[in-house]
């Protein structure tokens, strides 16, 4: 049996948080529910669609204010759809939740009383036990940036499921995140604080979808966030909120050899001007199949961006480079991928390093060494 009183505002917040993980449609019947655990320390709510799970914890007291009054500890699973709607519309600031025989649950607030049929909490999937072995911390906003700068490049095709995830490699207190859909690659490095002494190198692959969800759940702050890697899942620990994601199975391809180490042509550009020029050129290119635009170097440090679609017409634009070094080059690539890459880098100046018209090229920020974007050219003739 379970019984507790809770402040409505906190209850609504927690339920909304965990609702993000509850699937509308699921093959595992119990997952339509939200699990409630009342313990001596407070009340925890859990929602899951089996890929991601969110657990929100409300402590008994916070800043010397009582939030939850636990009369009896226990657990129950309640239908998320109804529970979410009910708590939002309760009349008073205090809510009483009681579980009686046969999972019968009573939600009481003021004069309103709901009796709903719960489900057995024993049936709910077990979240992994947290052993603090592989635990790391980094500032929340850095983690969010790291995710945003890589996750857009994951593959959306299911032919190689492993590429739908972002590969995180841990080595020497540094995290390297790599995402690729085999036409482009995004890489970002970030320093870590870790509690483990040995510097064993290992990697995990986190589904891109989960990371997108995670950025929505995390608040913008520079407070440190802790994350723990377990055998099958990764856990992010924010304040009173736990976010679990399942990992992808399989071996991530070795991407380290893809990145060229030397270049023949270096072009330094104003990021914003270049991005806008590419955007304009893509207006016509978008109609064509691949959204391909052409990039050529001219004399006197100028580059030309052009696109030609026979049925529609053509566009040519000259952009002044900030600096140019090396051989001439004519190369074609996807405008969309280029824009994604430029947006991810988010700096005022970028340098593009080409090795040849048929070779992958890299885009780097001039101030931030930790990010790298790689694009494959498109053969147009």
């Amino acid at each position: 049996m379970m019984k507790f009183y809770i402040q409505k505002e906190r209850l609504i917040k927690s339920v909304q948080d965990v609702m993000k993980a509850v699937a509308s449609r699921t093959t595992i019947p119990i997952l339509v529910g939200i699990k409630i655990d009342a313990t001596e320390e407070g009340v925890a709510f859990t929602g899951s669609d089996s890929d991601i799970s969110i657990k929100s914890f409300i402590p008994k007291e916070e800043d010397d204010l009582e939030i939850v009054d636990i009369v009896e500890t226990g657990s129950i699973v309640l239908q998320a759809r109804f529970f979410g709607e009910i708590v939002k519309k309760l009349p008073e600031a205090i809510v009483e939740i009681v579980v009686e025989d046969q999972f019968k649950t009573i939600i009481r607030s003021g004069n309103a009383e709901f009796v709903i049929h719960g489900l057995d909490a024993e049936e709910y999937p077990r979240l992994p036990q947290i052993e603090e072995e592989k635990s790391y911390t980094m500032p929340t906003d850095l983690l969010k940036t790291l995710i945003k700068q890589t996750v857009f490049a994951v593959s959306t095709s299911e032919t190689r499921p492993i590429l739908t995830g972002v590969n995180w490699t841990f080595a020497n207190n540094e995290l390297t995140a790599v995402a690729t859909d085999s036409h482009r690659l995004a890489l970002k490095k970030a320093p870590l604080q870790s509690n483990i002494e040995n510097n064993s190198v290992y990697n995990i692959v986190i589904p891109g979808k989960s990371l997108n969800e995670l950025t929505k759940v995390l608040e913008d702050s520079n407070e440190p966030i802790q994350f723990v890697v377990t055998e099958n899942q990764i856990l992010f620990k924010a304040k009173n909120l736990l976010f679990f994601s399942r990992l992808l199975e399989g071996k991530y391809p070795d991407t380290s050899k893809l990145v060229p180490t030397e270049s023949n042509t270096d072009v330094k550009l104003n990021s914003k001007d270049f991005l806008q020029a590419v955007d304009r050129a893509s207006l016509l290119a978008r109609e064509g199949k691949n959204n391909v635009i052409k990039f050529s170097t001219l004399e006197a440090g100028t580059i030309e961006i052009s696109s030609y679609t026979p049925e529609i017409g053509k566009v040519v634009e000259k952009v002044k480079s900030l600096a140019m070094d090396g051989e001439e080059i004519k190369i074609s690539f996807s405008a969309k991928y280029m824009m994604d890459a430029l947006r991810a880098i988010d700096g005022t100046e970028v340098t593009i390093y080409f090795t040849g018209a048929m070779r992958p090229f890299i885009i780097k920020s001039n101030v931030d060494e930790s990010i790298l974007q790689l694009l494959l050219p498109v053969r147009t003739f």
Partner: protein, 336 residues
């Protein structure tokens, strides 16, 4: 849903031995193809197998405890690492296989092993079957697949060749009767259910089905009229009671089956094989009739019913077909 080792062993001794050995010797194939008739316990044994793989307190290396959280949740369909795919409508769609594929590209939710069961694997669309092939071919570690089918001929050869086959034998009638009696069916009624279906659950449903109980009465009544050599009465009864009750083709078929068993019983009474009777409770009433009919006549009557059953499958008029049958059955006894 809970089935003990002994129950399942009685049902399918060979299969259970195979599973037991696989578990004890830890030689579990990555994919099994369970094939056999409806009601032979394929799904139950599949679930038993799953429980044995996930159970925390396995007894003697092959018997799941039915108590731990894994066993409990498998019984209730709530285990996060067990996936059961059943035909959505008439077939298993590509999207269903697609979801399964997505599921299996990830690591387990709780454990590092995964188990999936495809019920009606023959009902996969070709598209679905081809998507399945890919991950039957390259299974991830510790994944066990069970494909269940009633029509092994309909399984794509490419899938067939990638699974270990397990044949489920149909239940013997005696075994079926014994099971039904255990479940509280009256011993004199059990043989009829055992003859009509090979599935215990289905038989128990029949026992509760109002339509079916009524059908039984009508069939017996029809025979009673026929046995009195009153063709006109029989035809009248056909129109007043029978036709309004047996409407669908499958219902007529069941009715004919029940009628057929009556004539078979008469033959058995003549042969003194009492233990083969389908309606043992009617034996005393029918004894007299049985002695008045020659074996040859009975054989002809049985043949007439079988012929009718066959013609039912083609596009014929139900009432006419039944009238014709009654006349044939009647003619037989007229010449006695």
């Amino acid at each position: 849903m809970e089935n003990t080792w002994n129950e399942l062993y009685n049902l399918q001794p060979t299969v259970m031995k195979l599973i037991k050995n696989a578990l004890i010797k830890d030689r579990i194939a990555h994919a099994y193809l369970f094939e056999g008739m409806r009601g032979t316990g394929k799904k139950e044994i599949g679930l038993y197998f799953a429980k044995a793989l996930f159970c925390l307190n396995l007894k003697d290396g092959f018997q799941p405890c039915e108590q731990c959280i894994h066993c409990q949740r498998i019984n209730h369909g709530n285990h996060p690492d067990l996936h059961i795919v059943e035909p959505d409508g008439a077939s298993i769609k590509k999207e269903q296989i697609h979801l399964l594929q997505q599921e299996f590209s990830k690591k387990g939710m709780e454990s590092s092993q995964k188990f999936y069961m495809l019920i009606g694997a023959d009902q996969m669309t070709t598209n679905a079957a081809n998507s399945l092939l890919k991950f039957l071919e390259e299974p991830n570690q510790k994944t066990t697949a069970i494909l269940i089918t009633e029509n092994i001929q309909k399984i794509l050869p490419t899938i067939y060749s990638r699974c270990q086959h397990v044949s489920f034998k149909p239940l013997s009638k005696n075994e079926m009767i014994r099971l039904l009696v255990n479940k509280g069916v009256k011993p004199e009624k059990a043989p009829l259910y055992a003859h009509l279906t090979n599935n215990v659950e289905e038989a128990l449903e029949m026992k509760e089905d109002e339509w079916f109980l009524q059908a039984q009465k009508i069939v017996l009544k029809l025979y009673e009229i026929l046995s009195k050599n009153q063709l006109m009465d029989a035809l009248l009864f056909l129109h007043s009671d029978w036709l309004s009750h047996f409407k669908e083709r499958s219902q007529i078929d069941t009715g004919l089956d029940m009628l057929l068993y009556i004539y078979k019983d008469l033959l058995y009474i003549q042969l003194d094989s009492d233990d083969m009777l389908v309606y043992p409770d009617q034996k005393n009433d029918w004894q007299k009739n049985a002695l008045q009919v020659s074996k040859e006549k009975l054989a002809n009557q049985i043949l007439a019913i079988l012929e009718t059953k066959k013609r039912l499958q083609s596009n014929v008029n139900g009432p006419l077909l039944m009238e014709q049958l009654l006349i044939k059955l009647q003619e037989g006894s007229n010449f006695v």
